[in-house]
């Protein structure tokens, strides 16, 4: 069966009709289209709603019967598309104010359970990020508001609409300003709607506020090109990339897109030997830095000087203007040489929000002729439109009393703005404060009205992340609570009768439909957009605007100061997802720490200060944080992650870590993460940090095998000599070689493509109902992730090379774990899988000991319905995210990666039902499906033409710990670094 991209407008309306009248039948919440009265019982193993259309619950023990009575409650009326037990996929769009991704939403029994990447999107190309994967859990967040709130108490929409409308009218007549503060809005229809809103309330002033703005880049482009835009980058076209504090593989701008592009330029498939090279100059050890071929450590205050030095070297060689610059030690000659060699096929980016720096970056890129090749100004990125000046103006108008009201949409400035106290004080004066926050966040706490917005999975929307690329969002579930989409709120205050759904459709019909030429009828166009989730207009290769040079300058680097470099964590971002337990527990790919932020310091600095890991330090006399020793941290700097220290995020996120937004560097009106000068003092306390790894070097073992490009070209098996040795000794087995009938599932991981972004971890967690265990348990070494991201440093030194390696069950054919289970709970299947029957396991944990890869996980406690583990599996709402095809494991059993056997079985069954052979590439494991780097291949090893066989059929292939002769079905491809030997 083809994957179905449902168009669902009709269905949606129908559902609404059907369920409108049976509210009473539903307990606390209801799921759209499902009339399930939840008869709750304790018999929840494969938890919750295993049965479709009917819910399962235990009522009581029937006198003579041993088993509880289970009820089978059918739908009263079944929507046509809804088949109990069969998943539907809807194309939609993820956009949270910072990050964009085109997605497919997998729904079962009308509830979204998993986010997959949408392979029809030219922007995100089937990739997702960890945050996108985890976003589905936000839908089932207990902290979500159950209805609109007036002065801290729940109220109904009618009253609140009346109140707000009245107040807006008064403010209009009083000619008081009303500030509409939103995150960057990339939805063209919403922008139009806000335009309409401003038209009927002319006193409304719309500002866009980004917690981490990129205004400097826009301003620099305005200065250089006359266009205040963020250009679109093409990392795949660049042969040499130089990054300055830009974590473009992890958090910067469009990490999913950039990861895909980056890995494309470095794939060594099908005999390809060309590979791009990445130089990274940075302060903290970022994910991008960990993937760099050459990494240089610079202090934030040096960045401009180093950039200018680079510019000057390049300018000298190309005969351009040279500007005076302060001297810095950092060597830029190698980078400059490579950049020059790759003129027009290179790219320099900086993530620092500083005008001077961005101007130098532009100058270098211009010098190298990158515009039009690797940088595209004609299709700019629409993200990050916020300008700090707007925010400053708004602040002053609130303070001066010019403003009378404020509306917050998708922003939380009380938490994440630099001058939080001023804002809080100023807000008190305003007579009208409205928040559209979905939860009672820090800002909403201070508002008179909270009009909770729908979750994005409950909303209609559109997006234009990059000019000309449209993306479509449709609801996959009826709003669970009495919430209303922000746009609908605006419409109702406008007095409009129509819903945003209609508004959206009309807008597309009017503004977008005429622009395209593929479809003759709007219905078809509309249907296609909903089905694909994306629509892009043929990119016009417009001429790049001409460059206008400006004078470049750089400040003198500071000396003998301690510079703070704040950074965004891949998991936590700006702190929006603080209440998402999956993300809280996701180990940072570089530090492997979970559930906290901390001060990263370099080993040398630690030695000098006598600091050890977990020692607590005081920063600027107030902020108290533990220390984490981070090899690769630039000398004279410390790093702290933002996004922590929420106070009103919800039960999971409250009080995790410390908020450091107040330490942002504000110079010349731009907010910058880097460069604040701080004072640090050691205290006598310690604070435990929950790291998933306690040892960080490979001890000379051939675990991650690597080579350099030069050697690889000479010999594709370079760096993989161990494998040769192994092949020669392979005959030494007492046992016959394992043979399989038709399928032997295999998985291949290209370590050269894998950036370690850890999206697969969360994808796996969502797919396989992996429990969250909390900080204390992680600290004890009991994290449950079936797929872990191992990270090794070449040395615990100041400038190590970093290796990322995803490790899941290797599905060995000679599995040591199988031999030792006394009760035959883990055996080998006919298809080469190492199968684990949870209900047979008695928990001797012998298999865990005997697994050389240590990929087996034990349920140390009952993680479901246990108040000690108050995460998503302890809440009726949170449990709705569970995949009904996968058993929820009981306390006392061992679990592990199954190669997503439920997906294998599903696709096999589809092929059987369609009376055809299984196609290669049809089965996608959860980790593979959403990998933005396309590093994972899965398929049948017996089929020599399958993608996985082909990728194994290179000199780079090896098995982890192959000398043990466990014969794993998972294989790795050596890492190749593009550097001189």
């Amino acid at each position: 069966m083809e994957k179905k991209y449902w168009q669902s407008l009709e269905v949606y309306k129908e559902m609404k009709k059907n369920t409108a009248s049976d509210k009473e039948a539903m307990p606390e919440f209801s799921i759209d289209g499902l009339d399930e009265s939840e008869v709750k019982g304790k018999s929840s193993r494969r938890d919750f709603l295993k049965m479709m259309g009917f819910s399962v619950g235990a009522v009581a023990l029937v006198s003579s019967c041993q088993m509880p009575v289970r009820k089978a409650i059918p739908l009263l009326n079944r929507p046509q598309e809804l088949i109990p037990g069969v998943p539907n996929y809807y194309a939609s769009t993820f956009y949270d104010g910072d990050e964009y991704c085109s997605i497919l939403v997998k729904t079962r029994e009308s509830r979204p359970i998993k986010i997959e990447g949408n392979d029809r999107s030219p922007i995100s190309q089937r990739g997702t990020s960890a945050r996108v994967q985890a976003s589905v859990l936000n839908l089932y967040d207990d902290a979500r508001l159950k209805g609109p709130v007036k002065s801290g108490k729940q109220n109904d929409w009618k009253t609140i609409d009346k109140d707000i409308k009245a107040k807006l009218e008064t403010l209009k007549t009083d000619d008081k300003e009303v500030i509409l503060m939103t995150s960057t809005i990339i939805s063209p229809t919403t922008r139009k709607l806000i335009g309409d809103f401003v038209k009927s309330y002319p006193n409304v002033k719309w500002i866009q506020y980004d917690s981490l703005p990129m205004s400097a880049m826009r301003n620099a482009n305005e200065a250089n090109f006359g266009k205040a835009v963020i250009p679109f980058y093409h990392f795949e076209n660049a042969d040499v990339m130089v990054g300055f504090n830009a974590d473009f593989l992890g958090t910067w701008l469009m990490p999913v897109t950039f990861t895909r592009q980056f890995s494309k330029g470095r794939k060594l498939k099908d005999g390809q030997t060309k590979m791009s090279r990445l130089y990274q100059f940075e302060t903290n050890m970022s994910l991008t830095g960990s993937n760099a071929d050459y990494r240089y450590q610079i202090k934030p205050s040096e960045e401009a000087a180093v950039l200018l030095k680079l510019y000057n070297v390049l300018a000298k060689k190309t005969g351009n203007t040279v500007f005076g610059s302060p001297s810095v030690k950092t060597d830029v000659n190698t980078a400059a040489r490579d950049l020059l060699k790759a003129k027009g096929k290179s790219l320099v980016v900086s993530g620092t929000n500083d005008l001077q720096i961005q101007l130098i970056v532009n100058a270098i890129n211009n010098l190298l002729g990158n515009y039009g090749n690797t940088i595209d100004l004609s299709t700019p990125i629409n993200l990050k439109q916020g300008q700090e000046s707007e925010m400053m103006q708004a602040m002053s108008s609130i303070q001066s009393g010019k403003a009378g009201g404020i509306l917050f949409y998708n922003v939380n400035p009380v938490y994440d703005c630099v001058h939080k106290d001023n804002l809080v004080k100023a807000l008190k004066k305003l007579p009208l404060k409205v928040s559209f926050a979905a939860t009672m966040d820090e800002t909403a706490q201070l508002c008179d009205y909270v009009c909770p917005d729908n979750n994005y999975l409950e909303s209609w929307n559109d997006a234009e992340p990059v000019q000309g690329f449209y993306s479509f969002a449709q609801p996959t579930i009826r709003p669970i609570f009495d919430t209303r989409q922000f746009q609908d709120s605006l419409l109702s205050w406008l007095g409009a009768e129509q819903s945003f759904t209609d508004y959206l459709e009309k807008n597309w019909e009017k503004s977008l439909f005429p622009k395209q030429k593929d479809f003759t009828s709007f219905n078809k166009f509309w249907f296609k957009c909903k089905q694909d989730g994306v629509y892009s207009f043929a990119a016009k290769d417009g001429p790049q605007p001409s460059y206008k040079g400006v004078r470049l300058k750089a400040g003198k680097p500071m000396e003998n100061t301690l510079e703070l470099a704040l950074y965004e964590k891949i998991s936590m971002g700006t702190g929006k997802y603080a209440n998402n337990p999956w993300l809280q527990e996701m180990p940072d790919p570089v530090t492997t720490a979970t559930w906290d932020n901390y001060v990263t310091i370099s080993p040398a600095f630690a030695k000098m200060q006598g600091l050890e890991q977990e020692d607590v330090v005081k920063i600027n006399g107030k902020l108290v944080l533990p220390v984490l020793i981070q090899p690769g941290q630039a000398e004279g700097t410390i790093g702290i992650a933002i996004g922590y220290g929420r106070n009103h995020a919800g039960k999971v996120g409250d009080g995790v870590g410390k908020s450091v937004y107040g330490l942002m560097n504000v110079t010349n009106g731009t907010k910058n993460l880097l460069g604040t000068v701080v004072a640090m003092k050691k205290t006598s306390n310690t604070y435990p940090l929950a790291l998933t790894q306690t040892h960080h070097v490979m001890e000379g073992r051939p675990i991650v095998r690597e080579t350099v490009l030069g050697s690889f070209i000479k010999n594709p098996a370079a760096g993989n000599e161990e494998h040769e040795k192994f092949l020669k000794s392979e005959d030494f087995s007492l046992y016959p070689e394992p043979k399989f009938e038709a399928f032997q599932w295999g998985l291949s991981i290209d370590l050269n493509s894998c950036t370690g972004c850890s999206n697969c971890l969360i994808s796996c967690q969502a797919e396989n109902n992996v429990a969250v265990v909390g900080k204390d348990q992680v600290k004890r070494g009991r994290i449950m992730h079936w797929l872990r991201m191992d990270r090794y440093y070449s040395e615990m030194d100041d400038n190590p090379e970093v290796f990322h390696m995803p490790v899941m069950c290797q599905q060995c054919d000679n599995a040591p774990c199988e031999n030792v289970c006394p009760v035959a709970a883990t055996t080998h299947s006919d298809e080469g899988l190492n199968q684990m029957a949870y209900n047979r396991c008695i928990g001797t944990r012998y298999c865990m000991n005997n697994c050389p890869y240590k990929v087996r996980r034990f349920n140390w406690y009952e993680y479901v319905n246990n108040n000690s583990f108050d995460y998503n599996m302890n809440s009726e709402l949170g449990k709705l995210v569970l995949n009904p095809d996968v058993t929820v494991r009981q306390r006392g059993v061992v679990e592990k990666c199954t190669f997503c056997v439920q997906r294998i079985q599903e696709k096999k069954l589809e092929a059987k039902a369609d009376n055809r052979e299984l196609r290669d590439g049809e089965i996608l494991t959860a980790c593979q499906q959403s990998c933005p780097a396309d590093a994972i291949q899965f398929g049948n090893l017996l089929d020599k033409k399958s993608a996985v066989s082909k990728s194994n059929d290179t000199g780079r292939m090896y098995h982890l710990l192959e000398s043990l002769h466990t014969l794993p079905s998972t294989s790795y491809l050596t890492k190749v670094r593009n550097k001189e030997a």
Binding site: H695, R701, I783, C821, N850, Y853, L961
Partner: protein
């Protein structure tokens, strides 16, 4: 086995047959229980109660109450299990090996040693049980016909062998022990005046008569059962060793393990016998039966076994070096010798291989206090040996990313203490209610091994 020709006096004090009967049965028949017994029983049952709390906590809350983690998923429970099993080797080793080797000095010790075996194996058996994540499904380990297909067990698993071996060992040891006690029950039955005791011991004695034919069959059956159980002594700990040796964990995967474990078990078992007998002979005034000569014999055995242990340690290290495997070398030279747990490693070496060498000196063998202390040190050393094997190996295996330390929690400690309480309490019950020496065997050797002055005709 080290053959000690303990010629000469094994029973001192001009005992006669009747004296032996009296000495053996009097503690059982006396109506008063000594105060020290009550104190010891109180302490040990308090320990047992704490252990029961540990069990309760583990079963109700989860194995998570222990200090284990995904890398070190066996901890104290397995250490204690192996330790107890080792101690449980002494009884059978005593009775059977020495029986087969015609060592007469076993007679006054073997019954107590066998009792020790029973309680130690029972204490050991608790650990695999409580160690299971789902103890309520523990019956899955037995291959019984079921409605699941039927689904049998994995007969390749050393843990399954363990289940078989230990349950067999416990059964066989118990039966052997019990059969040996039947004549003593009969003599208590005939000696006691209490009706209740007569009834109880009468039932326990199975109607033992002591006829010539009865003795013949008894001896034959006992010898057969003993002979069959003798290889079990070797096999049980070999199989326990295979739990480790069959694993791929560096530090475990070693062919030397089975003999090494068996010797270690006998070592710790004999040491525990020594500890116990020194106490028992003191409180029961059995110095005439358990003589200096007995203790001396045990001490000599310990010296010899300690040398074997030393050789085993050295050969393990040598093999690791000789293998040239970086993983093996890491385990021995980096992880154990100087790593996180080096204290335990060196304690093991010193207590097991070096301290017992003091027994070469006759003076030390004669000094009961020092012998007692050394016997306890050996038991501690043997505990550390299991700690070193289980924990250091698991904490740092193949992939450095998975390395993780381990320290026990209060629950694990409680369970361990609880089993000690159980053991002591069991021994106390044994001392109070069961004949603690085989009177028939003592009587059998009395003539050859005691100094009976010739002028004893008028013994009426």
């Amino acid at each position: 086995m080290y053959n000690i020709k303990a010629r000469g006096v094994l029973i001192e004090g001009n005992k006669r047959y009747h004296d032996i009967t009296r000495d053996v049965t009097n503690p059982l028949l006396s109506k008063t229980t000594p105060t020290w017994w009550w104190i010891a029983a109180f302490i040990s049952s308090a320990m047992l109660v704490w252990g029961i709390w540990g069990f309760y906590n583990t079963i109700v809350v989860g194995t998570g109450t222990w200090g284990l983690n995904n890398s070190v998923s066996w901890g104290w429970a397995i250490i204690n299990f192996v330790w107890w099993i080792g101690i449980g080797h002494a009884g059978t080793a005593f009775s059977i090996f020495l029986l087969v080797l015609h060592q007469k000095w076993r007679t006054s010790i073997n019954r107590a040693a066998e009792a020790m075996t029973i309680f130690a194996v029972m204490a050991a058996g608790m650990f695999p049980l409580i160690h299971m994540g789902r103890i309520w499904d523990g019956f899955f380990v037995f291959p019984y016909p079921n409605t699941r297909g039927p689904l049998w067990d994995n007969f390749n698993s050393p843990l399954f062998w363990d289940v078989m071996a230990i349950s067999t060992y416990l059964t066989a040891s118990f039966l052997f022990w019990y059969v040996g006690m039947m004549p003593d029950f009969a003599s208590i039955r005939e000696r006691t005046v209490s009706k209740i005791k007569k009834r109880i011991y009468g039932i326990l004695s199975f109607g033992w008569l002591g006829s010539a034919r009865g003795w013949l069959r008894f001896e034959s059956a006992a010898l057969l059962m003993g002979g069959l159980t003798a290889p079990l002594v070797v096999s049980v700990h070999s199989i326990v060793a295979m739990d480790f040796a069959a694993g791929v964990v560096p530090g475990w995967h070693s062919t030397i393990f089975p003999p090494f474990f068996v010797v270690g078990a006998i070592f710790s078992g004999f040491a525990m016998v020594l500890t116990m007998m020194i106490i028992v002979r003191k409180v029961y005034k059995y110095e005439e039966y358990v003589t200096q000569r007995h203790l001396d014999a045990i001490a000599r055995v310990l010296t010899f076994v300690s040398l074997i242990m030393g050789v085993a340690y050295i050969s393990e290290i040598f093999v690791a070096w000789y293998s040239d495997s970086p993983y093996e070398m890491f385990v021995f030279f980096k992880n154990r010798a100087v790593g996180e747990y080096s204290f335990e490693f060196w304690a093991m070496i010193i207590f097991n291989a070096i301290v017992p060498q003091l027994f070469w000196f006759k003076k030390i063998r004669k000094n009961i206090t020092i012998v007692f202390i050394i016997s306890i040190l050996i038991n501690i050393g043997m505990w550390y040996e299991r700690f070193v094997i289980v924990i250091t190996s698991l904490s740092k295996t193949w992939l450095p990313s998975t390395w993780h330390g381990y320290s026990p929690t209060i629950t694990e400690i409680a369970i361990y203490v609880g089993t000690i309480g159980f053991f002591v309490f069991g021994i106390l019950l044994f001392l109070r209610f069961l004949p603690m020496m085989a009177s028939s065997e003592l009587k059998g050797i009395l003539k050859e091994t005691s100094i009976v002055t010739e002028n004893t005709e008028n013994h009426e």
